[in-house]
């Protein structure tokens, strides 16, 4: 565990080699990236066993190892290194597994692309930064990795660099997350000025002991949460995630489903002891999560692009994770993160498979693909069902734990009610997209004729992920956990550090309610969108206002563009005017011109006539005499 630094080092090495030498390597070096990633995954399993051995049955507080990074005595002594605990372990597992799956998938999906080698290089760099982020033991290193992750995300969103929309989406992603990142940096700096350390564990201890001034602590917490909102696409910084679908589908699967967007969730989970000390912070986190999850669910009902629907489902899930953290249910949130990585990645990769097969993304052109894609279609259906929370798939167990956490938690039960409302809506839109894509009459026969199943390099990873989707949720049971070599089920392994390990208990009426509501909505969805989908058209006509609001994503993007135009660009124009007219023309040029003009006027005193100059001399003497004379008296 002390050697966990090897984990990011492997993909970094891959990145450097691929960046420099990929054009000359056979197959552009993708085997190198995949090999290093698989090796990293194996190392994660080794670390997991070490963590388990260290826990035994007692409490475990994580293993840290650090090196001196800067040493200015008295002012800046920073140590950087790794910190491994259970939360870290979950993230490591998820990142390396999904990355390996995705890279294998990409060998087929990205085959023949002009920038193939560069793709693997940047993905390796991304994984390295993500691993560093979750391993970081201090906030400064975390921030470095945070920014690096954002950079890789931008590079990969804009991968198709000949498309204007891709470039704009990359820019939008970077700028929106930047807004959050500024908050994160300010929060880190505030914490440093108050505690004189960047080390996370030290800060958490000081916060819990009440050693930090509460006003500064509140400010720092809000600022850091803003950073988490940016990276995890919470309202109001959610606008970049749907547009990020401009990137290649494997990128969406890895970065925007399984790993990078959960960096914000990871941050909140890691800093939760600090957030819980601040008054009102858990409520704030819950509210933001609720807005995100409900809004995304409502928007997902009307979107036409299959990847967009999955993107909004990601927003839905992220909001849910934040709500869970707001109630302090770290175990539930991390469980959801764990299973979400599997089913969301499988959904994205399956969508990629559909797109690869049909060259189409709009559901208006799809339909009836079940018969044509015997592996992709079931995988997608399984993933969608897990997303909806159908028992006994993994999504159900995770959602159930979240509901239980809300029920037992300190937040007002109104939040629980709202989450319960969002469950059927989620089921509804997932059902919609499944029906419109894979069932019913094909809407475009030309597309239908050409559709075919994808090659094994693509179907194998998604199949593996589908299997994990089905069984992944069972780790919540004690028996399963012990069978895997751990000392207890999930909740005994991953828990809120402030509260301690939990036992898995079922809140029966909640579970039954969620099963029933999900089942009912799936049936309702089948009725609305099945077959010729007549009821959906009636519903759309019934309330055009809601339909338009949903279709246009509640006009948030338009609002931001308006603000940018009216406020940002207008102030830019004002400043530019000021700079041009006042500073440049009046100040810089004006001074020169004034001097020139004075010179122009003054030259007329050089008449060249001696009597004039003599007069000047005499006048000068008289003036001096008067001044001296007046002085004397």
């Amino acid at each position: 565990m002390g050697d966990a630094w090897v984990l990011p080092a492997l993909p970094i090495a891959g990145f450097v080699v691929l960046l420099l030498f990929s054009p000359w390597l056979p197959r552009k070096g993708d085997w190198l990236a995949i090999g290093l990633m698989a090796l990293a995954f194996v190392l994660v399993l080794v670390i997991g066993r070490d963590v388990q051995n260290a826990i035994g049955d007692g409490n475990f507080h994580g293993v840290a190892r650090s090196w001196q990074w800067s040493n200015i005595p008295g002012a800046l002594e920073i140590r950087m290194g790794t910190f491994v605990d259970q939360i870290t372990l979950v993230m490591l597992f998820v990142v390396t597994l999904v990355a390996t799956m995705m890279m294998v998938y990409s060998t087929s999906y990205m085959h023949g692309d002009r920038r193939y080698g560069w793709f693997f290089a940047i993905v390796s760099l991304f994984v390295a930064s993500m691993l560093t982020l979750v391993l970081a033991d201090n906030l400064l290193l975390l921030y470095f990795a945070w920014e690096l992750v954002g950079l890789c995300s931008m590079l990969l969103i804009g991968y198709y660099n000949d498309k204007q929309s891709a470039a704009e989406a990359a820019k939008k992603a970077f700028i929106t997350t930047r807004v959050g990142d500024v908050g994160l940096l300010i929060g880190i700096i505030i914490l440093f000025t108050q505690t004189h350390t960047f080390n996370i564990q030290q800060i958490l201890h000081m916060a819990e002991a009440g050693d930090i001034n509460s006003k500064w602590l509140t400010g720092a917490a809000i600022c850091m949460f803003a950073g988490a909102c940016g990276k995890s696409a919470q309202f109001p910084l959610h606008v970049w995630l749907p547009d990020a679908m401009e990137g290649p589908t494997p990128v969406s699967a890895l970065i925007h489903a399984a790993t990078m967007v959960v960096a914000g969730v990871y941050l909140v989970a890691r800093m939760l002891p600090l957030f819980e000390v601040v008054n009102g912070m858990p409520e704030l986190i819950t509210v933001i999560g609720l807005i995100t999850t409900l809004g995304a669910a409502l928007i997902g009902l009307t979107q036409r692009d299959i990847k967009r629907v999955v993107a909004y489902s990601t927003l839905n899930s992220l909001g849910l994770m934040m709500v869970a953290l707001g109630s302090g249910a770290v175990g539930a949130a991390m469980l959801y993160l764990f299973v979400h990585a599997f089913f969301k990645a499988s959904l994205f990769l399956a969508s990629g498979s559909v797109i690869h097969a049909t060259e189409e993304q709009e559901v208006d052109k799809l339909g009836g693909l079940w018969s044509k894609m015997p592996i992709t279609a079931p995988v997608f259906v399984i993933g969608a069902a897990a997303m909806a929370g159908l028992i006994p798939l993994s999504g159900f167990w995770a959602k159930d734990e979240i509901l239980a956490g809300l029920y037992h938690g300190p937040i007002d039960h109104a939040a629980l009610v709202l989450v319960l409302i969002s469950l059927p809506i989620t089921a509804l839109y997932m059902t919609r997209v499944v029906l419109l894509t894979f069932f019913g009459e094909p809407k475009d026969h030309h597309v239908f004729e050409h559709a075919h199943e994808s090659p094994p390099a693509m179907t194998a990873p998604i199949a593996i992920l589908a299997v994990l989707t089905v069984v992944g949720g069972f780790v919540i049971f004690e028996g399963v956990g012990k069978a895997l070599g751990f000392h207890s089920g999930w909740l005994g392994f991953v828990y809120n550090a402030a509260e301690g390990p939990e036992q898995f208990k079922v809140v029966w009426w909640l579970s039954i309610f969620s099963v029933v509501s999900v089942g009912a909505s799936i049936l309702a969805g089948a009725w609305i969108w099945g077959g010729a989908a007549e009821p959906s058209k009636r519903a759309a006509a019934f309330s055009p206002f809601f339909y338009r609001m949903s279709l246009n994503r509640f006009y948030v993007d338009e609002l931001y563009q308006l603000i940018i135009d009216k406020v940002v660009l207008a102030s830019g124009r004002a400043v530019a005017w000021f700079d041009r007219a006042i500073v440049n023309d009046s100040g810089v040029n004006g001074t020169g011109e004034a001097t020139g003009y004075l010179g122009f006027l003054a030259k007329y005193s050089q008449t060249g006539k001696i009597p004039n100059y003599a007069l000047g001399i005499v006048v000068g003497v008289v003036v001096i005499a008067i001044v001296a004379f007046g002085y004397r008296t």
Binding site: Q606, T607, G608, K609, I610, P611, L615
Partner: protein, 108 residues
Amino acid sequence: MESVHASIPLSNFIVLSSILFSIGVYGVLARRNAVLMLMSVELMLNAVSINMVAFAVYTAPTFFVGIIFAVFVITIAAAEVGLALAIVLRVFRNRGTANVDEIDTLKW
């Protein structure tokens, strides 16, 4: 003869000197012909000499630097007039005029 000191106060000489100087200044500024300007300069120099000599005689008769000064002033004035008139002749030959008003090529 009664002492000149008793009957004519020093200030008289100084007044005379300043009047002569002012007249010389007017001449330098108002006259157009170069030679006439030089004559006015002579007047100014003489005014200065009277001033120095008067001060020397009245206040420090044993240390008569003012008188020596006046001697040198006369000497240098003579030299300068010769040289200046040579220049005026040269200018007259080049320009055809001795009017200082018309010699103004070094202007804007």
